[in-house]
Amino acid sequence: MIEQALHSISQFYPEIVIILTLCVIIVADLIIKSDKPVTGWIMLGGLVISGITILFQAGQNGSFFYNMVVVDPFAVFFKLLLVLAGIFVVLFSLQSKELDSYYTRKGEYYMLLSGMMLGMMLMVSSTNLLMIYIAFEVTSISSYVLVGFTKKETDSAEASTKYIIYGAVSSGIMLYGISILIGFTGATDLAAINDALQNRADIPMILNISILMILVGMGFKIAVVPFHFWAPDVYEGAPITITAILAVASKTAALGLLIRFFSVSFIDSNGLTATGIWQTIEGIHWTTLLGGMAALAMIVGNLTALRQDNIKRMLAYSSIAHAGYLLMGVVILAQEGLASIMLYLFIYLFMNLGAFYVAMLFSNSIQTESIEKYKGLGFRAPLESIAMTIFLVSLTGIPPTGGFVAKLYIFSAAISGGWIWLVTIAGITTVISLFYYIRVVKNMFFYKPESNEGIIQFDLPSKTILLILLVPILLFGIYFSPILEFAKNSVQIFGM
């Protein structure tokens, strides 16, 4: 037993590093009274080390802690994405002026951020319903507090309250669904649930309802329509760094969880066809349901984003729309669909974080998040504006950026699965999305700055971070085979 635990620990280094980071941050915050953001650097270091230990896990495949947690290529891919997003968000936080007025509580901020990272990493690697729920809650609770971190702002407090209420209700529903599922199958392990379902001839409606309830919780985290109502207010009210991590990492983790949950629990191991996953849980037309959700997310997200003036709010709605594009991949739970989601997430990380980063830089220097006030910025901050343009063009999905490749691949996966109506909606909504993305570009470049507004200077670190975010987008627009191969290999563990 001890041997088993010790062996498990050896596969748990990335998470342990994060936990240690969390503890060190608390202690450091007590001891070091410095104006410098020491805790931020500690967290950055912790994330880098954790990232390196994840790299050592590449290629492994096994489950640990009595089948609570797995280390497989799929989990490794998602954990790397999450750590990467975490590193960027910490880098952003170190530069954010918004957080500076709360410098005495910086330690708290990074501690909570570490907790959130830990929760998300567990979300993508757990295979047990109880573990899934714990991971889910660890993420949620840390993020509730983080959203309300700038507590003197009324927006932030309001956002936090809304997030808690929505979050509590959704995770309550999810927990109820989980309890029904456990009661019905008598198992908490996903593979055991699959076994239990395989041996049953009939699938009663209650099972379908329980899955639907679990979907509510996950849909809430992904911010997909109709569980998206919290997203705009929370994204707008939260500090921009937290908005970035919610829009990127939290969504990534929840999608990873969703994919694993569906493909492990309900896969039909007898006859593996493209529709095989859904045959186990007939009763509700799952693909149509998910397809409909994807379509709704694309339509609602894109249409509502049209009328937004706050850049964070606009990006919030755009991220709802992107959740729709991502769900398109889930609808086709086959190798292409999953690989395309992973490719999409990888590119989405860079382009969305990039857009948030530029928004943050502008908010730091001109104290505005209003798109109307971006007028003339193209001439006052040319490099940042060009970068923003590339990020937004990539979010729209226009070649030769990474966003195009991501969209191309997810569209082609959907078409090969026969979902032409869904892809047509995706195509049309992409055009709609162009309106609001391009409006930012238009305001930056097509208006002259006022005569009293000079050039805005940015320091070297911020330019470097910008470049690090920019290069992959342009690079993956042309050369993306390695990441795609990695993604394809990662999904093979589901037997696809």
Binding site: V393, P399, I415
Partner: protein, 536 residues
Amino acid sequence: MEFLLNLTIYFPLIGILAFLVFRNDEAVKWTSLVVTSITFLLSLPLLFQFDVANSAIPQYVTEGSPVFSGMDVKYLVGLDGLSLLLFMLTTLMGPIVILSSWNSIKKSLMGYYSMLLILQTASLGVFASLDLVVFYVFFELSLIPMYFLIGIWGGSDKVRATIKFFIYTLVGSLIMLVALIYLGYSAGAATGVFEFSADWRFISSPEFTLGLVEQTWLFLAFALAFCIKVPLFPFHTWLPYAHTEAPTAGSVVLAAIMLKLGTYGLVRVCLPVFPNAFAEFAPMMAILAVIGIIYGALVAMVQKDVKKLVAYSSVSHLGFVVLGIFAFNTVAVQGAVIQMINHGLSTGALFLIVGMIYDRAHTRQISDFGGIAKQMPVFATFFMIATLASIGLPGLNGFVGEFLILNGSFFSELYANKVYAVLAAIGVILAAAYMLWMYQRVMFGPITNEENKKLLDLNGREIGLLIPLVIFMVWIGIRPVDFTKYSENWVESYITISQEKSTAVLETADSSDLPNWTNRIYDVEESKVESFTSNK
């Protein structure tokens, strides 16, 4: 030679790197002039070495390895009879466009010239690419620089114009993207090796045919994208806006090159890949083309702004090209191909001329001019030649294209109705009316506006950039065969291939498997009998 083709395509893009070194305004201008001129010189051997007898086969082909595993999407460029002349036109327009904006652009020069150079690479890439995904990438890439060219350096109402331009084109191209992916999967299934194939050489070859239902939808999706780009009536409303607000260079590139992407796409993709749909929808497209010809001409006639007039004349002229393409015989398609070049030369020249007068008088209203000919005799001469070329006066280039198109569509089997050609011929007359009337009001008569007495005649730079265009206008007008020879073989072979494919599909089509509407559109054998009996 393969390397030379790639170098030509990317040289403008590489040229932008030089801006990192030469940062001051003069240096930027000279660098871009040198870069585009070298691009033009580099492209010349491609023309001289071209094997005219085999123009149906892509030459100087560079083939990369597939980027997706199992999917035949790869870097694939080459030139054939269809693309060669358009490719050459693009390289020729490069230095001309740079020279035309020499003194008129005063803000953010580096950005401006980088946009022009990116645009150059994108347009060359569209014409050279033989893989449909690569084609799409370049097709879209050309949008972004044009967006900024109009948006930053454009006129007063530029914001609306750019948005309209961008949205229109993107709607079309995204629908095309969906169709393209579908086409790719069908082609991939047909290869038996790949899952997905976007290799144009395979897709257009006789080995690959599509069913009637698929052809209809895919044709409509592709045709929509291309017709918006052309623009064909009723998708033309973005064009006058974009043209009037764009800076001169933007208008020239838009008219001479970017509008051709649409017509080029119709010939490149729609003609060989969807033969049945192409044939069945031809009369409908012809109706739209004819409406475009006459409507464009009538609207041009009442314009008060010279630039808008030229913009509407584009709608009219490109109607001819579309009419020619869908007439689907060698003469007409040949005419359409050469007319694309002609339109590029003559409308390009007209926009340059309008830009020159605007630089001097800062107005484009016809009523502000009058009697300019006395003041600017050299300008008047060039304007006259361009006007006449645009009208289609025999001896100049416009005549050749229009004659071939009208001739071909008169005898077109697909139209089976001579009225299209007759109505289109009215467009030629109208063109003469609005162009000459405009010329008369601008150039002749007494000088009504005192300001105009101060106008100076063209300088050496401006004459220099118009002369090559005039030379080609006359050359094509006198010896069209020097130019039509390149595409002759291509057009003949692909029309034959397309006809063969069309018959093959109809022969194998089983009416019982097809929905009723397809049977009705395509005259599938036995369908009448069956639907007759089933009705009883």
